[in-house]
Point group: none
Amino acid sequence: MSVNLGKVQQAAVSLFATRGFAATGIRELGAAAGINSATLYHYVGSKEELLVSIMRDCLDEMIRSGSEALRRSAEPAIQLAGLISSHVGFTATNQLTARVAEYEMRALSEAHRPTMQALRDEYESLFAQVLERGARVGAFSTEDLTMARLALMEMGTGVAHWFRADGRLRLEEVQQYFVSMACRILAVEDGELDGVDFVVAPRRLASEPDPPQPRANVS
Amino acid sequence: MSVNLGKVQQAAVSLFATRGFAATGIRELGAAAGINSATLYHYVGSKEELLVSIMRDCLDEMIRSGSEALRRSAEPAIQLAGLISSHVGFTATNQLTARVAEYEMRALSEAHRPTMQALRDEYESLFAQVLERGARVGAFSTEDLTMARLALMEMGTGVAHWFRADGRLRLEEVQQYFVSMACRILAVEDGELDGVDFVVAPRRLASEPDPPQPRANVS
Amino acid sequence: MSVNLGKVQQAAVSLFATRGFAATGIRELGAAAGINSATLYHYVGSKEELLVSIMRDCLDEMIRSGSEALRRSAEPAIQLAGLISSHVGFTATNQLTARVAEYEMRALSEAHRPTMQALRDEYESLFAQVLERGARVGAFSTEDLTMARLALMEMGTGVAHWFRADGRLRLEEVQQYFVSMACRILAVEDGELDGVDFVVAPRRLASEPDPPQPRANVS
Amino acid sequence: MSVNLGKVQQAAVSLFATRGFAATGIRELGAAAGINSATLYHYVGSKEELLVSIMRDCLDEMIRSGSEALRRSAEPAIQLAGLISSHVGFTATNQLTARVAEYEMRALSEAHRPTMQALRDEYESLFAQVLERGARVGAFSTEDLTMARLALMEMGTGVAHWFRADGRLRLEEVQQYFVSMACRILAVEDGELDGVDFVVAPRRLASEPDPPQPRANVS
DNA sequence: GATGAATGAGCGTTCATTCAT
DNA sequence: AATGAATGAACGCTCATTCAT
């Protein structure tokens, strides 16, 4: 299996997530991808463009997955569940990539940041839309919609910091739990989601490094 | 007013928070503090020690404030409220410092990271203790205590990303709201906190840059 | 018409003359010749050998043309006129190549410079011979033969810097004028060249890029 | 004797003149100036700015010296003699700097080239002015004024290529000879300059490396 | 206390060249 | 004949840090 852009992105995400973009040298990047640092420039125009390609792919998929979740129902509670589930699922499945996309916005030059920030804003607006409509039609109840949105997003994003594919909890459990927390926060009535399959199966990005092996059936 | 360590820390936090530690040069630090970069070494042993001093002060105060909140009552719900209130209050009042302390753990060398990580762990254990005891005595109800803890902390930490002292919401309102979200998540009964003054007035660290002017009473 | 060595040389001369040898990359060379930079190595052994081939062709032709001019008469004044005419004609017709051959001697490695310098010296000796013999037999009169030679050569070489095939002056006019300046400098009597056709029609080298279109007969 | 900008310029001129700007590395520059390459950046903003400072100083002095020569008389023949004398004197005294200023115009970025080219044009216009006025008032006679100007300048500039301070000819002799060639080319009458002291004593620029020791009186 | 000068190491990037295809 | 992929070396430049003044 030869080197390709995906492998370079994986190596980059791995290093950017742990050391940070600025603290990662391109010689390190090359070494992690198994190539000479000069060769890296056959795959990517510059260190920043490498970051941009990673972030764009990530944000594109977040928007796509979130939008799809919203299209699956007109019911605010179900939309919310789908969106939270998508957010948590994506974040847990693409932990490092998601972290890089979140943390390294500041590393972008003025030439690239606005574009990426616009994608991020577009993604966040999905949450704002659902919450606003749900509150308007009386499906959600909270004292402050904005704070609820920020808290919900932050909570879900935090999954990137602790989720382990080989850990105690399966992804579906985490998704379920976060949806239930969201319901509590927004005072969604019990049973509103009974029988509804809102769990979204996330895609793994090409840039996401291979996760640790899931727990074997030790029995 | 001449230059002192506090001013250097403020300048450093301001830059570390926006550019990141690795992307901030010591000439920039000097310029931001109004001194020559060589002079900076009279105030601080090295760039990393500057970061360490900022992080230690920050974590120390977080632990102190959180511990104090726990000592104010033996009631789990009240302890939780105090702790959340302290966390949110501190984070909102020391936004940039808190962000640096969170983000830049990875920038530390192996010589310093364990010490700082230990402080962070100690702080997080305050949350674990409260939740665990509260669950044990039946004050809280949730399917997974660990996820609840992680979600609550992440939520509160996120305040650093959006709170504005001159914004729509006063700090007390935010603290109240986050306590109420925590109660919902942990199914704390309504009225449990009625009449209890759990709002903690946070201290501002010397390292925290001056915030934007609070909104004038234009009335 | 496919790519061949001449085309590569033309591209090289064009770039070497404007950017200089050291500042011209091999990818630029390839692009200018319409081929991949790796393919370039099928036509030339290395970047330096490309320069050597250009310079050798150039100096060979200068020597050939100059020598031929000298063989056309035994009269010093006529020899001088022929040599100047050849020099100016060649330089004007092969502007860029001549410039490269002059400027980039310094770019050669110790392995190649002596060879090329020897050719240059051989060419310059043609001027020295004519002047020396002319002075000896009393055809020329000047206070310093060496300075006269250097001035005459430099003057003629300078034509490469300003001559335009589509400009105000036809090449023959320039050749005539430079011969007449040489005569003045060396105090050659008026009428010495009357009726003598000393104008040399120069050859264009394969390495010389196509000149701008000569002025059309708008009449 | 400490390092200063002049020493850096000297080192730079020495290398730029022999290897060319593009072929000279900043580590070489540092070594030639006796400092670390990083230290070089305390004296100069960038490699290009170093070249610019050299060229500007050079062209400024050429213009100053040439203009001064023109101001010394209203007589075209005398003005011409002064200008040629200044040109040759300056070029011989600042051989390497003059060569760099001439050759390396092409090495400048688009940001700096126009400024330097404007200075060069201003200098060349001094020659054009003198020749044009002299021709108008009948002091000079030639078939083409433009070619005469170009030839005269090129001739004088060429002095940089061969003059040796410790050589056979003293500078004054060279200046005299070049003035006399100019007079022949422009058909200035004999004796027009008799008794006139047109020889200009040139200044040596700070950027010009120390010349070889003048010949000792070995007797 | 404060700074300009200095440096070795490292930065992101480009270089001329090679080679399997 | 032609090229995409590859590389070690070098590029111009900035880094955190030291030190004499």
